[in-house]
């Protein structure tokens, strides 16, 4: 079991979701985060003061999945999430020691 964490463009969420759903990934979690990176946030002005808001809003996606699906999921994100411009984001992969389904206390890969 691995956890795939991807920081993506919010506008790419739907495309990525369709792709991973097509692989049989039934569950995922996501939330809004802010990023600092190469991409510059769009400059804003307020009452004559130009300022750069310190961050760019992004979506973070978390999918825990069986080892066999890790590469296909990553490919989905790489293919569907890229525009080729700075700001496309990153993917990180982590090891997962254990998983449980709260509803019925199933454990391990069954719980995913």
């Amino acid at each position: 079991m691995k956890k795939i964490e991807a920081i993506i463009r919010t506008s790419k969420f739907e495309a990525i979701y369709s792709c991973v759903a097509g692989l049989g990934v039934k569950f995922l979690t996501f939330y809004e985060v802010k990023g600092m990176g190469l991409e510059q946030a769009r400059p804003q002005t307020y009452r004559g003061v130009a300022y750069e808001p310190a961050f760019i809003p992004r979506t973070k996606l978390e999918i825990v999945t069986v080892d066999a699906l890790v590469q296909p999921v990553i490919d989905c994100i790489l293919n569907e999430g890229a525009t080729g411009e700075v700001g496309d984001g990153k993917i990180f992969v982590y090891d997962v020691l254990e998983a449980y389904r709260i509803r019925n206390k199933e454990q391990g890969e069954d719980a995913l």
Binding site: T10, S11, F13, F30, Y31, E32, R42, P43, Q44, T45, Y46, P57, T59
Partner: protein, 409 residues
């Protein structure tokens, strides 16, 4: 007329003017509430400038176009001059039941309404510059020309059976409605509204703002219709208050019923639109109807607005706030209703009403097409897709409406 009555009449028209003024906040709130928070600064920016544009252009040329004077009676167009020049006896009953300045300011507050209606329908995708250009031309020139046809003594007023439009179901609301229709059509729908998988809902960002907007509009409408009596005549003004109140209330229930039957849901945005449709509907004949007829007109208006929203969605004309259904459909219905109910009902009147509706349709459709289409072909009227997705606020104004709040994904 004695000085006392003159003073009272004048005072009432001025109070009505303030009430019409606050309708602009009503429109601003309603339109901001029914669109997304990423476009809120933009819609408020436009709706803040519109009354300013209306007041200034109307002073500059609109008032003279709309009331060119007796020499142009029965005609299509006329221009009495440029700017405001005080006539003899302007502040006495020689001029009218109120002063020249009262006349001007009450009319000027009406003027901007036409553009405000359009701004809702074209929201979330139109470029700022072209919209302001359209507004200036439409409010400054097109609206007063139509107004002149009836209120300025033009051809609609001199028909054998004169066209009747008490406070502007056609002359104000449909004029705005036609501009809204053309604008929304030429722009095309918002990205993501009509997809291959069908229509998608794009919920407005604040139901409270939309509700505040409609209450303020209803509040102001007592001045819009009540002031159109053009005097403080107790019988007439009180009748108009009753019909205006009843029609709005009945519009709420018409829309509630229709939307519940069609969608099996209690949709507050439809109820709000229904109130407005009831109000638009009664506007043409607010002084001709009794309470029962007002209830029917309002109720039917409320039903029509729901059908209208569905209808324009079927045509893939994307109107985020329902302005076309409210002001165009409601305006046509109200104008026709003058021929069907109340003191003037009758076949000849229906015909005259149809003539007025048709002439307005042709002229407003034509002129707004001309303006929007020229702008589209030259500087373009629609923001780039990336801007639309990210929001007009940050792209056109470099600013967020609610910078403190985290956004829903």
């Amino acid at each position: 007329m004695n000085q006392e009555i003159f003073t009272i009449n004048n005072l009432w028209i001025l109070v009505a003017t303030i009430l019409v003024f606050i309708m602009h906040l009503g429109f601003a709130s309603l339109e901001a509430g029914l669109t997304r928070s990423k476009n809120t600064v933009n819609i408020l920016f436009k709706n803040t400038l519109i009354p300013a544009i209306g007041l200034l252009t109307y002073a500059f040329i609109g008032f003279n176009l709309m009331y060119p004077g007796d020499a142009f009676a029965g005609m299509f167009i006329g221009l009495g001059g440029i700017g405001l020049s005080l006539p003899e006896g302007w502040n006495t009953s020689e001029y009218a039941d109120f002063t020249f300045y009262t006349d001007f300011i009450f009319q000027a507050m009406f003027a901007a309404t036409a553009a405000t209606i359009v701004s809702g329908a074209v929201a979330e995708r139109i470029k700022l510059g072209p919209f302001l250009t359209f507004s200036i031309l439409y409010v400054g020139i097109c609206y007063p020309i139509v107004g002149m046809w009836k209120w300025g003594g033009g051809f609609l007023d001199t028909l054998e059976t004169p066209f009747y439009d008490f406070a502007g179901s056609t002359i104000v609301h449909s004029v705005g409605g036609w501009g809204a229709l053309v604008g929304a059509y030429l722009l095309g729908p918002r990205i993501g509204k009509y997809t291959e998988k069908g229509m998608k809902a794009i919920p407005g960002h604040s139901i409270p703002m939309a509700t505040i907007g409609v209450f303020l509009l209803w509040f102001g409408w007592f001045g819009f219709n009540g002031g159109s009596v053009l005097s403080a005549d107790p019988g007439e003004v009180s009748l108009v208050f009753v019909t205006t109140a009843i029609a709005g209330a009945a519009g709420a229930f018409g829309a509630l019923l229709a939307s519940y039957l069609k969608f099996k849901t209690y949709d507050i945005t439809m109820v709000l639109n229904g109130i407005l449709a009831g109000l638009v509907g009664i506007t043409a004949g607010a002084d001709l109807m009794g309470p029962g007829e007002a209830a029917i007109i309002g109720f039917v208006g409320g039903i029509l607005v729901v059908l209208g929203v569905v209808f324009f969605d079927k045509l893939k004309i994307d109107d985020p706030v329902g302005a076309i259904a409210v002001h165009l459909v409601g305006g046509i219905w109200g104008t026709l209703a003058v021929g069907l109910f109340g003191d003037l009902a009758g076949g000849a009147q229906v015909l005259s009403q149809l003539i007025g509706i048709g002439a307005t349709a042709a002229f407003c459709f034509g002129t707004s097409w001309l303006i929007f289409f020229s702008l589209k072909r030259t500087i373009g009227i629609r923001v780039p897709a990336a801007e639309e997705i990210e929001g007009l606020d940050i792209n056109e104004h470099g600013m967020h409406a609610y910078p403190d709040f985290a956004k829903q994904g």
